[in-house]
């Protein structure tokens, strides 16, 4: 059974690796956005040094981590939910449900392959470009990088779980556009993609840092910047893992409910 899912994951990796022009285009766009955002962050940190506990170099690292993880952790769309929703809308999902594999595990594996490719294809290059242009903060040694990668992996699981839940709503609503965009919006804002969550003021900041979206970018970035040590690091991972488990369980529940109660579309 595990071999099946490994094959699906490898397929997910290869599928995205096929579109080289799209990958290059994505790297270009991420870099342009990184450039624009970096300028605004420099202006902001120029006025208020140590804002949110970050130095300018930390803030710049944050910008480029955000660009690198955009697709990996599904900050603005998981990259698979549109396809899944379309299958639900057209009724093709019935074929998927016939397969001798679990629906959620299948998509989880495919998404893991996609995330792995996008980390390599769309993550590394913008980080390199940003580091060369701005010379921002780097993690301390291989241990720091390893800790960061684990946080990214957990973040990408949370990202998957969120978008899977979104896709499940299509069983009831059929047209997933609305929910998808609301989720997109929440992701954009609460992931810290627009502005680091520790710059958010007062209660808004506290709430934002507790929400699942914080696992996607804020936590990995803080791990990268070495803001967690020992126990606290374990706590950060636990935070991500908890949200991953809760959301995956919710996705399973929605799936079970949907397959039992909902009439599949199609003719």
């Amino acid at each position: 059974m595990l071999r099946l899912y490994a094959t699906v994951a490898a397929g997910g990796f290869r599928r995205y690796a096929t579109y080289r022009v799209a990958t290059a285009a994505g790297v270009f766009t991420n870099s342009v956005f990184g450039l624009v955002l970096s300028s605004t962050y420099i202006a902001l940190w120029d006025e208020r040094p140590h804002l949110g506990g970050y130095s300018v170099d930390d803030a710049l690292a944050y910008v480029w981590i955000g660009q690198a993880l955009l697709t990996v952790c599904g900050l603005m769309g998981g990259g698979f939910e549109e396809e899944l929703i379309e299958r639900i809308r057209t009724g093709d999902i019935a074929v998927d449900l016939y397969r001798p594999a679990d629906l959620q595990a299948w998509w989880f594996s495919a998404n893991a392959g996609r995330a792995a490719f996008q980390l390599l294809g769309r993550g590394v290059a913008p980080m390199l470009i940003g580091a060369l242009v701005f010379g921002f903060t780097l993690p301390s040694g291989p241990g720091g990088w390893a800790a960061f990668l684990l946080a990214v992996a957990l973040g990408s699981v949370v990202g998957f779980a969120l978008w899977y839940l979104v896709a499940m709503s299509a069983f009831w609503l059929l047209d997933g556009q609305g929910v998808m965009q609301v989720a997109w919006l929440a992701g954009l804002f609460f992931s810290g993609m627009l502005l680091p969550l520790n710059v958010f003021p007062g209660t808004l900041g506290e709430v934002a840092r507790m929400l699942p979206w914080a696992s996607l970018l804020q936590v990995p970035a803080d791990v990268y910047l070495g803001r967690y040590e020992g126990r606290e690091l374990a706590g950060a991972y636990a935070f991500q893992a908890c949200w991953a488990l809760v959301l995956l369980a919710a996705g399973r529940a929605a799936q079970a409910l949907a397959t039992r109660k909902v009439v599949v579309q199609g003719g």
């Binding site: 624009v36 300028s39 202006a43």
Partner: protein
């Protein structure tokens, strides 16, 4: 708002698509039987096509009303959150690059409104790559209607109107906050800027879409100039590297969308050694951009080869 805009075109045009394939060129005159103005140039033809296709998609969207309401609300919010970032920034600082909140809000409003209008009308172009890849563009080419109008109106998304409304609200708000010495010139320049800005953004979108004839998967590059350009223009030019500012003046002339005219209205000098009269050059730049986009589009169509499966 949405309701009124939808019902008017729906009532008028009966057949939502131009009729079947394989028609000769004189079918254009045939098209005038729906009762619109009889003299059709390419432009009139395009507009009519655009309106019909867009009206069809609006009706189709209205089949899922809950979803539409959510997406409209969302479109409003996406841009609003963009603005929240600026609000949050100004919660921490008094000025950004020497610009006050009202001034940044003005830059945000002008750029956002221009981009919103372009995105509403031409935003679908970035989806064209898919049609080139799977060959469904052939269907469009068969129809006796201008291709650009068909593709631009394809999957017309009325929800994008939310973006226009949001940006316009910020613009109006900033006008109340600002302390500008209004002259007749400035008062005329503002609406002209928004329209020309939308045209420039639209031309960039068409140029980007033309590249899709060769590189079907490169749609995201256009985003760097459209969405990226919009973000850039929302902030004062003083915070960006001078090379970047020169790039958006002389290479991809996005500075003419809003920066240069807006800086004139605010009574600030043009950035990066650009002459002051450039503030009034937006209509000319828009015209040139349209020319370039038109040439790129023609070159694109000429090189189009179907998937052939």
């Amino acid at each position: 708002m949405a309701e009124t805009t939808t019902t008017t075109p729906v009532a008028g045009d009966d057949p939502p698509r131009p009729d079947g394939p394989s028609r000769t060129d004189d079918s254009r005159t045939d098209g005038s039987r729906t009762g619109d103005s009889p003299a059709y140039g390419v432009l009139g033809d395009s507009l009519r096509t655009y309106r019909m296709v867009a009206a069809m998609w609006i009706r189709s969207t209205m089949a899922y009303r809950v979803s539409f309401a959510l997406t409209l609300f969302n479109s409003f919010c996406v841009t609003f959150f963009d603005f929240v970032v600026i609000l949050l920034m100004f919660g921490q600082v008094k000025g950004l690059g020497g610009f006050s909140f009202a001034e940044v809000a003005f830059l945000y409003g002008t750029a956002g409104t221009a981009f919103g209008i372009a995105d509403l009308t031409m935003g679908s172009l970035q989806r064209m790559g898919r049609r080139v890849r799977d060959g469904s563009l052939d269907t469009f080419l068969m129809r006796p209607a201008p291709l650009l109008a068909q593709v631009a109106a394809d999957k017309f998304a009325l929800r994008r109107f939310g973006r226009v409304v949001q940006a316009l609200l910020v613009l109006v708000w900033s006008l109340f906050l600002l302390d500008v010495d209004w002259t007749p010139v400035k008062a005329v320049l503002l609406p002209v800027t928004v329209v020309c800005g939308a045209v420039i953004f639209g031309a960039v979108m068409v140029t980007g879409a033309s590249a899709l004839f060769w590189l079907q998967d490169a749609a995201e590059v256009t985003n760097a100039f459209t969405y990226g350009g919009n973000t850039l223009l929302q902030y004062p030019p003083t915070i960006f590297a001078q090379e970047l500012v020169r790039g958006v003046v002389y290479v991809v002339p996005l500075a003419f969308v809003s920066w240069l005219p807006a800086l004139y209205v605010l009574g600030r000098p043009a950035p990066a050694g650009v002459p002051d009269w450039a503030a009034f050059a937006s209509p000319l730049v828009a015209l040139v951009c349209c020319g370039v986009a038109g040439l790129a589009w023609r070159a694109g169509i000429r090189s189009y080869r179907s998937t052939g499966s």
